[in-house]
Symmetry: C2
């Protein structure tokens, strides 16, 4: 223990490294901040559970133990339904082969599990399944906010109405759903406010088309962490889906959706070597523990594979994970830095702030819960896979 | 079923997607090829199990059910020991906190689990642990072949001998170990042959230093898939560790370590949408199923997040996963391609060749075994985590 800071948190000493630490105070504050913001804007929060994939986290993020919430896989849907959540949207375009599983989850747990789609082909399969199984599946039509990924053009009345008309023959049209994914590429507050407004306008345009055609559209669901954070008006929107906001990460900090000090997730790691002539410190958190995500490489500040912090969670000046192999992280100062390299001997422990909470979390099967630099003793399982 | 090729392999129809398919014939052929090569060069193979993380795969890759083999985590060590493997090297620099777990694995299963280190500090901790526990731990000194990562300079006699002298006080010096990781950045056969020879020379230099000092060095262990594939002489080397060779991936194909047709691993995925004005096909294999690995981005041919193949495993001309979100893969033709976009309707299935078998495998908990385009019915579990 040659670095006085290490002694602060010897409670971490029993943990096998690498492992995930989740600061429950930061998590709770991030959720409260988003909920307050959306309350002021008059919309409800349907948290996306794809980042945390943990029932313990979901119970902090959701308005009630029954939901509502959003999931990215049917495995998540079954897991959260088993845990008592009763109002879910599976927010990835449906394939016909998955409808039996959707129906089985709905039946087994009595959960209102809605699906999304953006084509007449899918609508036909869903309507036929609904009729054949006597279970009218609730459906949101996915609309494309910004050319990022899936979704019908929000102003393509022919397509939207055609989908709605097909769904009427058995399924339950519940509304429209958007995800302004291109907001992840922004960092200027004015541009983020504009992206949020564009997402809202696209949603309203699609909803108006359905309603003018006499089709139901009770839900107008938007969501991405950056637009949720920057929206100035959500008039006409019924709910916001967002997920990574509750945990935060270096990428979102680069966008401006959170501060580095708000990030609730770190990877605990142990020093296993040095290359002293190169000023490298080698740890046991490689890309398997941190994920291969290098999202910050395209941002103004490239954080490598993550930012190295002491056990209290304070970043060491300019010390990042400069490179990573499967089970080796190579810590070094940022290029050009004149900061001192901390003295971190073999066996010293530190914490790495991740680029992307969704990707880093997925490399692990549990969270060790901390408040600041102390373990609470709680271990929260998380799920992966499909 | 508008594409005649889809009908070839309807046996995949019952699988939930995304999921891993592993071609056991290709796996077996890749192992046989490497073993023949190393037999001709007069060295034994100690397969690295970090890629496959599966006992079923290990039994094909190892010379006997008892090993030898290499692992990258102590969880792998325990898992393979439980499965009958008795000769293992944990080939990541040891931290003192991990010695109790090393000892527990050795005791519980009677496994000869060796560790690696590259510093006097670590050697002191290992020697002290060995004395204190009456269990002389077998140790290989890690040597740096090419400046890639960890390891002592192979010509730094003071450091190597100092480590050896400390180990003599309780532990068991078994030899030297190298990994020519920089070979992953090459693609020219002459450069790969030179990298393999440099790795061999570094190993011999370090071994000679130990032996000249009267220290034991029975094992001289080298290994990386590219150098194992290109070495012309392994005289003086006792064993080769390599892992990804048995499965192969697009990155190794880019290096020249395998052909695309040798790759045994694919991700089965289902079409869930289209953006027809952009010629995008959207699938349910996003980066969660494929991993965030973009290793081919630095190679001559950037394969995006993977190459799209029909169900028989034949690549569609120029069709790659151009972008990926968490649960969405966006297929599109390579920039500038004039190939036809295949007609892949909603619900069609296809297979994605991965950039990096180690990273893609780690996103899943099992392999569905296939031979060509047919499921064998076998499901091989794999492990993750630490």
């Amino acid at each position: 223990m040659t670095d006085g800071r290490i002694g602060q948190a010897e409670g971490f000493g029993d943990l096998e490294t690498p492992c995930l630490l989740l600061d429950s105070d930061k998590l709770t504050a991030n959720v409260a901040g988003m909920r307050d913001r959306l309350d002021r804007l008059g919309v409800s929060l349907r948290p996306h559970l794809k980042t945390a994939k943990s029932l313990d986290v979901a119970r902090i993020a959701m308005a009630s133990p029954a939901g509502p919430a959003t999931v990215s896989t049917l495995k998540e849907a079954a897991y959260f339904a088993e845990g008592g959540v009763r109002d879910l949207i599976y927010a990835v375009g449906i394939a016909p082969q998955k409808l039996d599983r959707v129906g089985a989850i709905r039946r087994r747990w009595g959960v209102d599990l809605a699906i999304v789609l953006d084509s007449v082909e899918q609508a036909e399969a869903v309507a036929a399944w609904s009729r054949g199984n006597g279970d009218p599946l609730p459906v949101l039509i996915e609309v494309d906010a910004d050319g990022h990924r899936s979704g019908a053009n929000p102003r393509d009345a022919d397509r939207l109405v055609a989908i709605g008309r097909v769904l009427e023959k058995g399924a339950l049209l519940r509304g429209v759903l958007l995800h302004a994914g291109d907001s992840y590429g922004l960092s200027d507050p004015a541009a983020l406010r504009a992206a949020a407004e564009a997402e809202r306008q696209a949603a309203l345009a699609a909803a108006a088309i359905l309603r003018e055609a006499g089709l139901p559209c009770p839900e107008v669901s938007v969501g991405s962490t950056p637009t949720a954070r920057y929206a100035e008006s959500l008039d006409g929107i019924t709910e916001v889906r967002a997920g990574v906001f509750m945990i935060g990460d270096l990428f979102q900090a680069g966008v401006g959706s959170c501060g580095i000090e708000d990030i609730a997730l770190t990877v605990l790691t142990t020093v296993i070597g040095h290359q002293r002539d190169k000023d490298w410190i080698i740890t046991d958190a490689g890309w398997m523990a941190l994920s291969r995500d290098r999202g910050t490489a395209r941002q103004a500040v490239d954080q490598g594979y993550g930012v190295a912090c002491d056990l209290a969670g304070r970043p060491y000046p300019d010390l990042i994970v400069r490179d990573a192999n499967q089970e080796h992280g190579i810590l070094a100062l940022r290029p050009g830095s004149s900061a001192p390299l901390p003295d971190l001997p073999i066996g010293a422990r530190l914490r790495i702030l991740p680029n992307h909470a969704c990707a880093t979390g997925a490399q692990h099967d549990r969270y060790h819960v901390v408040v600041n630099d102390r373990l609470t003793g709680a271990v929260w399982p998380r799920i992966n896979g499909w």
